[in-house]
């Protein structure tokens, strides 16, 4: 095994060992429960960064990336599944996000969970999650990926329901898992379809033969597979992504997942797990590129989710819920990017979003910590003087997400919008611009209500507001720096930045198949216009947000806000009720499903059991009836004999006489 293979294996082994050890001895460590988990992840981060360096800077792995097999996992005759791993530039980008944000969240959790008695469980689960996520991005075959997929879901369940005493948390965890399951069902069907079609489940070529991503397109072109089968496979796999990344209609679990502690929301539901779907679609781009109709659906689902979530974010009072809907919206952007063929742009946005959404969530956690676990924004306000570090970092994050240059969000978001326009998906572009406006607006509504204006904080809590400890603010600062400069670092110049050079080989084939040809970036041509429009949209949103909610005299404009709310009352109600999707699900699955289940139960008790019991009862009553013949009196028996004799004789006479 080479050094690189060893390092990759170590990268996986460290969080796993951290999980095991913390689970075993963590409770006894008390306040220092993080001592096993956090260093493991810091070490993992270091290894991860080294691998990234090797992959995209030193080009040590070649065009195809590092591929190796650790051991044969399932040898079952013809069906052999190995634990094989792949590290190419796409993996490297994901590794950057996962390990960095993961490490920062672990450090942040030292301070955030300092008073929680269950902190040893928390760190154990966090490490388990890191292991699962790393396994997911490193996996090189569908079975391993699916196993990691499920493990990530499990970790999410454990962490959302971390405060298991709270009924709402337990329910939210259950909801997350169940909704994920729906997607996973489609995913499993897709994997099965792939297996029956091409007979292998490895992504790329191994000693066992060619991989899925080579065989499937070949089969399609050779005519062995119909186009609709390809589209079907793509859609089934996409179903899994829809569940995991909380797109419509499986988006209902993500807002409820905010019941978990804030570091969990930051890590899992902003930066890593929900990106698994995006990563997967990008990884499976050879399949999707061959199924253009599926791509259109991906784009449609994505952009629809984006605007749906943005509309709901307007009416939410809980700071974390706003951020959750914001995540949904940004994920929608990523899928829209994937759907229109802008794979690189989508991954770029994944990267930047991981950083600034992680920052926003951790910042909100800091705010919540400061106001002593108050999450309702209407009871905050005027905090910018009291918790400056949190305020400034969150401000940077908000500007980044709104897409204002030169911060990170601008580059990635604009590239998605630009590509949609240029690839012919004008409707995606138009809706995307609207969503950009909305993003700026609701983010600065959040900022305004939380940090600016008059303080509506509870009078008793007011004096106790304090900045968070360094273990919490340090990650905030690091992430803020990243949000500010990352775009420039890897995405500039537009379409020719570092990240494009990294990811181009991965997506090259797909881009060609889809027939996407771009001329070079023209700052003073079409691209310039699109840039300006994108930035302007974000700026308009920010300005409106600040005007109505924010910095300068928001008090006077409160009646205007009220009037707008009245004018748009139906929309407001719809937004407040999350467009009634939860109620719809409740109606269909809980009520109607419950009715069906009760009917089945009635059937089982009365018909099935009734039949069985009825047969027994019939036997018993027959027996009881026939028993009456045994009178014990000889004459009754003699009468029976005489009658029998008579019958037999008469019958005989009839038969013979005929």
């Amino acid at each position: 095994m080479t050094i690189d293979e060893l390092l990759v294996s170590l990268l996986l082994a460290l969080p796993l060992a951290g999980f095991g050890l913390t689970a075993l001895v963590g409770r006894r460590l008390g306040r220092r429960a993080w001592l096993i988990a956090v260093p493991a992840i810091v070490l993992a981060w270091a290894i991860g960064m080294f691998i990234v360096y090797q992959s995209v800077f030193a080009h040590a792995y070649g065009e195809e990336g590092l591929r190796f097999t650790l051991y044969e996992w399932i040898p079952a005759g013809d069906f052999v599944v190995s634990a094989n791993f792949l590290v190419d530039s796409l993996t490297a980008v994901l590794l950057i996000v996962v390990t960095t944000v993961g490490m920062l969240v672990h450090v942040y959790s030292i301070g955030y969970m300092a008073h929680d008695p269950g902190r040893w469980r928390f760190f154990a689960y966090l490490n388990l999650f890191m292991f699962s996520m790393l396994l997911l991005v490193l996996a090189a075959n569908f079975v391993l990926l699916f196993a990691a997929w499920e493990l990530v879901g499990l970790s999410s369940y454990l962490l959302i329901g971390f405060w298991y005493n709270r009924r709402s948390a337990a329910l939210a965890a259950k909801k997350a898992f169940l909704v994920n399951r729906v997607g996973d069902f489609g995913f499993a069907l897709g994997v099965a379809a792939i297996w029956t079609t091409v007979g292998t489940l490895n992504f790329f070529t191994t000693e066992a033969g060619p991989g899925v991503f080579e065989l499937l397109p070949e089969a399609l072109h050779a005519g062995a597979i119909e186009p609709w089968m390809m589209t079907g496979i793509a859609l089934l796999l996409f179903a899994g992504a829809v569940g995991k990344s909380a797109q419509f209609p499986l988006h209902v679990w993500l807002p409820d997942a905010m019941e978990g502690p804030t570091p969990v929301s930051a890590l899992i539901h902003a930066a890593t797990m929900v990106n698994a779907g995006v990563y997967f679609v990008a990884r499976a781009n050879p399949i999707f590129a061959e199924a253009p109709q599926a791509m259109v659906l991906v784009a449609a689902v994505g952009i629809f989710t984006a605007i749906l979530a943005a509309s709901i974010a307007f009416s939410q009072r809980d700071i974390k819920r706003v951020l959750a809907y914001s995540t949904l919206s940004q994920l929608g952007y990523m899928f829209a990017g994937l759907g229109v063929g802008a794979f690189t742009a989508a991954i770029f946005h994944l990267m930047t979003h991981g950083f600034f959404k992680g920052l926003l969530f951790l910042g909100s956690g800091s705010v919540i910590h400061a106001v002593h676990d108050e999450q309702d924004m209407n009871r905050m306000g005027g905090l910018w003087r009291r918790i400056p570090i949190t305020h400034w970092t969150m401000l940077i994050g908000s500007i980044a997400i709104a897409g204002i240059p030169p911060l990170a969000g601008f580059f990635s978001k604009d590239e998605i919008l630009g590509s949609s326009f240029k690839n012919g998906f004008v409707w995606v572009w138009a809706i995307g611009v609207v969503v950009a406006v909305m993003t700026g607006l609701y983010m600065f509504r959040l900022m305004g209500k939380t940090f600016y204006g008059d303080s509506h904080v509870d009078k008793e809590v007011e004096p106790k507001i304090h900045e968070s400890p360094p273990s919490m603010t340090l990650p905030l600062i690091v992430l803020a720096i990243a949000s500010a400069v990352l775009g420039l670092l890897v995405g500039f110049p537009p379409e020719s930045g570092l990240i494009h050079s990294w990811l181009e080989p991965t997506f090259h084939h797909a881009t060609e198949t889809l027939g996407i040809h771009h001329e070079a970036f023209q700052l003073f041509g079409i691209d310039g216009y699109l840039l300006v429009i994108g930035a302007a949209a974000g700026a308009v949103g920010v300005a409106l947000g600040m005007w109505y909610f924010g910095l300068f005299g928001a008090r006077e404009r409160r009646p205007a806000v009220e009037r707008w709310t009245q004018r748009l009352h139906p929309l407001y109600v719809a937004s407040l009720n999350k467009w009634w999707f939860d109620d719809l699900n409740d109606l269909i699955f809980v009520r109607f499903g419950g009715w069906v289940a009760r009917a089945m139960w009635w059937f089982d008790v009365n018909v099935v059991d009734g039949t069985v019991n009825g047969i027994a009862a019939l036997t018993q009553s027959t027996g009881r009836g026939i028993r009456q013949i045994q009178t014990g009196r000889v004459q009754n028996y003699a009468l029976g004999i005489a009658a029998g004799l008579l019958v037999m004789a008469v019958a005989y006479l009839f038969v013979v006489g005929r």
């Binding site: 028993r627 013949i629 045994q630 009178t631 014990g632 009196r633 000889v634 004459q635 003699a638």
Partner: protein, 103 residues
Amino acid sequence: MSQSLEAYLVLSALLFAIGTFGFLARRNAIAMLMSIELMLNAVNLAAIAFGAFTPQLQTHAALIALLVMAVAAAEATVGLAIVIAIYRNRRTPLVDEYASMRE
């Protein structure tokens, strides 16, 4: 009529039927035994009738009738002894009281 075989046979059948009815219908055990004797006699009559109208069977019929009589006597003896023994236990000669072997 005394020269027709059928007359004797019909008579025998009637006597047998009467005996059967008595056996099935009477409550007293001794009356049942008397009905059995009637049935046996009917059989004897049938045998004699056949013997009277069939030269080869004549002596045989007579002997059969004698043997049947002997057996009937033995059977009546034992049957009555049993009835007396049961009577000592149950104090009644009525057979519908002897019903302990019921379901």
